[in-house]
């Protein structure tokens, strides 16, 4: 992986994490926003400016790709690169969590 991308996305912001996490299945921006609200019990919300900007950046960086456009909404999905970065981040968070509760982490 491009070290530059690693620097940008590992570790990543909560917004970026939930967008990638949600894009494991195809979804459009507003739909991602709703998904994230639901899984975080309304504690994380992503506003349209932030959503649009982050999606555009991730598409440019090759983490997500445009699948189709439906009723003027762009539907995106994770690319293999996006998935790789998501897994790195998930492992980092798992390690963080396991260490924080005093257990040992074995990768």
């Amino acid at each position: 992986m491009d070290p530059k991308l690693r620097k940008i996305y590992v570790p990543m912001s909560e917004t970026a994490f939930y967008i990638l996490f949600s894009l494991q299945k195809p979804q459009h921006g507003y739909g991602i926003g709703l998904d994230v609200k639901e899984i975080t019990n309304n504690e994380v919300s992503i506003s349209p400016g932030t959503m649009y900007g982050t999606l555009s950046k991730m598409e440019k960086d090759g983490l997500i790709e445009l699948l189709k456009e439906e009723e003027k909404r762009k539907i995106y999905q994770l690319t293999p690169l996006g998935n790789e970065i998501l897994q790195i981040e998930l492992n980092r968070i798992k390690r963080l969590y396991i260490n924080s509760i005093g257990e040992e982490y074995y990768g």
Binding site: T15, Y30, P48, T50
Partner: protein, 184 residues
């Protein structure tokens, strides 16, 4: 046809939050913004007084259909662009929680917008200052006494002071906004 009125008002590139508040107070008085005419004219149309949130987004990229659709999905009405600023509004009664009031949900994206304003508005002004205003100034210095250009020189000096004040005001304000956001 509804009654309209036009107001002249100057907001600098660093005063967009003030402009939002002003538009909100106008709408609460029953005047809804219909368009902004270059450079400083605001056209209002009479309407029922309502509590509305106004938001300005600096975005010089082309306003595309999918961009507008996303804002619309989030409940924002787009009603025009003016020199790089996109104007949005939303009924306050449609707001469920604090996050619905914002078009940017994290500080990073707010800082990014301040940076964009700085890069595409402040930098050109600074460049004009150094390549046009300053060299001209040294020219003046030589001719100012006993020259018939004295009126020109005075006008020039007034413009110079205005220009510098505007640069300093916007520069300091944008930097302060950025610092406040980063320290939040």
């Amino acid at each position: 046809m509804a009654k309209t009125k036009t107001k002249m008002k100057i907001f600098t590139i660093a005063d967009y939050e003030k402009e939002e508040k002003w538009l909100e107070s106008k709408h609460a008085e029953g005047w809804k913004l219909t368009k902004v005419v270059f450079p400083v004219f605001y056209v209002f149309e009479q309407t029922t007084p309502e509590k509305i949130i106004y938001k300005l987004e600096f975005n010089e990229e082309e306003v595309t259909e999918d961009y507008l659709k996303m804002y619309q999905d989030y409940g924002w009405e787009f009603f025009g662009s003016h020199v790089g600023w996109n104007y949005f509004r939303k009924l306050e009664s449609e707001i469920m929680d604090e996050s619905d009031k914002e078009i940017f949900s994290d500080n990073e994206s707010k800082v990014e917008m301040v940076d964009k304003v700085f890069k595409s508005r402040m930098l050109p002004l600074l460049i004009v200052f150094f390549v046009a205003f300053l060299p001209q100034m040294s020219q003046l210095d030589r001719n100012i006494f006993g020259s018939s250009d004295i009126i020109f020189a005075i006008i020039y000096l007034i413009l110079f002071v205005l220009y510098v004040s505007l640069l300093v005001y916007c520069g300091i304000k944008l930097i302060k906004m950025k610092r406040d956001l980063e320290n939040k």
